[in-house]
């Protein structure tokens, strides 16, 4: 069982890694800060049950929480704030100086270039589908109408394209790399 006194030092050690990890994956420093706050709020809730045996295990546990927050955000388009609200944590505003520094530290320019490169590698049909669904946020029925395919086919096309991009990006260590 982890010592409650050790939580804040743990935050000091890991907060920046978590923030940069989330910034690389959301491409948005402000969203990443919200997710970081929720990650540590949830970590505090689970802290009494954590074994403080090795730092690596604790980091793995923390990044599991962070990934869960990220997954929620990517599915819902908004950061979960359950634990933050429950604990009464006021999430700080992102300072504008911070934002540029965080995006630079997270290497967002390279990530964006990587995304652009992968987007260009897709077939024109897949690229159009991703652009409509992800960038222009069209509902699937509209994507299907514009592509002149069934809604099911539109969903499949977007899903296949995103999987392709994800695999390529992971290989380039943009998605799953750079945890530390």
């Amino acid at each position: 069982m982890a010592d409650p006194e050790a939580f804040v030092p743990f935050y000091r050690q890991e907060a920046e890694s978590v923030l940069l990890f989330l910034t690389r994956r959301t491409l948005d420093g402000e969203v990443a800060l919200d997710l970081t706050a929720e990650t540590f709020a949830q970590a505090w809730r689970g802290w009494p049950g954590v074994r403080q045996d090795s730092r690596e295990e604790m980091r793995a546990w923390l990044f599991t929480i962070a990934r869960r927050q990220l997954g929620h955000y990517l599915r819902r388009g908004e950061a979960q704030r359950t634990a933050v609200r429950r604990l009464g944590i006021r999430t700080p505003s992102m300072h504008e100086d911070d934002l540029a520094a965080i995006e630079e530290a997270a290497g967002l320019l390279e990530v964006r270039l990587g995304l652009r490169h992968e987007l260009e590698q897709l077939s024109a049909r897949e690229r159009d589908a991703v652009r409509m669904r992800v960038i222009e946020e069209m509902p699937y029925d509209e994507v299907a109408r514009r592509l002149d395919v069934s809604e099911q086919a539109a969903r499949a096309r977007v899903s296949r394209a995103l999987r392709t991009m994800q695999r390529s990006l992971a290989a380039r260590t943009l998605i799953d790399g750079g945890v530390s």
């Binding site: 800060l33 009494p48 540029a100």
Partner: protein
């Protein structure tokens, strides 16, 4: 260990506060479950679990209702996804990137005439020498837009807008500035967001009939206007360090508000006066130069400046077309601040290569390439291509502007789309201009200061090739 990001330091302070309080008083936060309590729950019988579940669901529903009421009562709006730039930003093209340490959310807060979050203003300086003003609603010290009136799928949330969400900037010193509902950018001569000591440009803009979401929705099929009863007229600007106050008309009354010291910022949000719902926009009268403005239209009627230790005023009554009563008129500015000296044609003159892009026997575009005689290092400089208009000025005057930095001697490529689409002409005279600003700006004879003609070319339509015109999508 201290964090290099201030936001993480502040989050740490919050965590210290929360964890200390809970360690001192472990039971104070009911919803927090401790591991022991979790194990106890698992040992409950099935019936008890069902009852407990029903109670939890009822409690959750009640909590949801009361939370919603509480949030509505306090005016707190949930935060949604941040707004991203519409296009990828680079430090060397377009408006550039926000310059680190040179963006500032001003303390200015203006209530909305229909209630809700106040309005605020951010001033951003960019890597390409522009100063940009962003306006929007403010919550928790962040500037953003609201997900209503068709924006953001009507999610009702507050969507933060970072300093990187800049208005598109077409580029070129002749552009002077750009205005959109989301903000305005103009060329800056000095540091306006540091200490506000230096200043060289003013931003002023007005919008009428703007919907209440303050935002300028990108959602497909979004209604960009709210109901007429909730429309606003918005005027904003930064008038430089000499500005003291602005006066504007509101109904039959005239109101005077001080501007934000240092940058001379003002922001006026009021109920739409005219009932127009077109979302009209235009440049407001305003300038950083005492003795100029306000002009012949717009909300502002008087701008007061500090000039040589005294306050002077400039005014104009847009309704009557005459000057308003001014007690201490500012002296007229020098009407010719820049040199009128003409630069004769010299080593900078170029002979561009011309390539026609022809598809299916039709000329789609003409591309001019030439080595840059001058480097472009900011938005204050640039190259532009201007095609002559048809006789009588009836269309045909095409334009292309280089909106990125370029090294001296590097190849500049400018493209004229559908060059022969108008007035059945088969040859088209074009001029290539080098735009610049500042006291040393060069100019050619017959051109305004800052416009230097560096090439004259006539593009001919070859025999057997026909003109192409843009295809109308509707």
């Amino acid at each position: 260990m201290s964090h290099r990001f201030r936001a993480l330091q502040e989050l740490e302070a919050e965590l210290v506060r929360v964890t200390s309080a809970e360690r001192a008083e472990p039971g104070r936060r009911g919803p927090l479950r401790r591991p022991g309590a979790e194990r106890q729950t698992r040992r409950l019988s099935g019936t008890t679990r069902t009852r407990r579940l029903a109670a939890v669901l009822c409690g959750a529903a009640l909590l949801l209702v009361t939370s919603t009421i509480a949030l509505a009562a306090t005016g707190v709006i949930l935060t949604g996804a941040s707004v991203h730039p519409a296009r990828k930003l680079t430090p060397y093209a377009g408006a550039g990137l926000p310059l680190r340490g040179h963006s500032k959310l001003l303390s200015l807060r203006v209530p909305d005439p229909y209630g809700g979050l106040p309005w605020g203003m951010r001033v951003v300086q960019t890597t390409r020498g522009l100063v940009c003003v962003q306006i929007g609603r403010v919550q928790n010290g962040r500037l953003g837009e609201l997900g209503i009136d068709g924006a953001y799928n009507d999610d009702g949330r507050f969507h933060p807008v970072g300093p990187g969400v800049l208005p598109a900037y077409a580029g070129g010193a002749s552009e002077g500035g750009v205005t959109s509902e989301r903000g305005s950018c103009v060329l800056a001569d000095g540091d306006v967001t540091g200490n506000g000591e230096a200043w060289g440009s003013a931003v002023a803009a007005e919008f009428t009939g703007v919907s209440e979401n303050a935002a300028f929705a990108r959602t497909r099929g979004a209604r960009t206007q709210g109901p007429p009863a909730s429309l606003r007229d918005i005027a904003y600007g930064i008038l430089g360090p000499h500005a003291v106050s602005v006066s504007y008309r509101e109904g039959s009354a005239t109101r005077t508000e001080p501007v934000v010291a240092g940058v001379g910022a003002y922001l006026i949000v009021k109920k739409a006066q005219s009932g127009a719902t077109g979302g009209g926009q235009g440049e407001a009268p305003g300038t950083d130069t005492p003795g100029e403005g306000p002009g012949t239209s717009g909300v502002l009627s008087v701008i007061s400046y500090e000039h040589d230790g005294t306050v002077c005023e400039n005014g104009y009554n847009a309704q009557t077309g005459g000057h308003v009563a001014i007690r201490h008129a500012c002296p007229a500015p020098n009407p010719y601040p820049r040199s009128l000296r003409v630069t004769p044609r010299g080593g900078f003159y170029r002979h561009p290569a011309v390539a026609l892009r022809v598809e299916h026997g039709r000329a789609l575009a003409a591309e001019l390439t030439f080595p840059a005689p001058f480097a472009v290092t900011s938005a204050a400089e640039g190259y532009a291509l201007e095609a002559a208009a048809c006789p009588g000025g009836h269309g045909g005057g095409g334009l292309d502007v280089l909106d990125r930095d370029v090294a001296k001697g590097a190849t500049v490529r400018l493209t004229l789309a559908y060059p022969f689409a108008h007035c059945n002409r088969r040859s088209l005279p074009v001029e290539v201009i080098y735009d610049s600003s500042g006291p040393d700006a060069k100019r050619s004879y017959g051109r305004t200061p800052g416009e230097l003609v560096i090439a004259n070319v006539t593009i001919a339509l070859p025999h057997g090739v026909r003109a192409a015109a843009p295809v109308s999508r509707r």
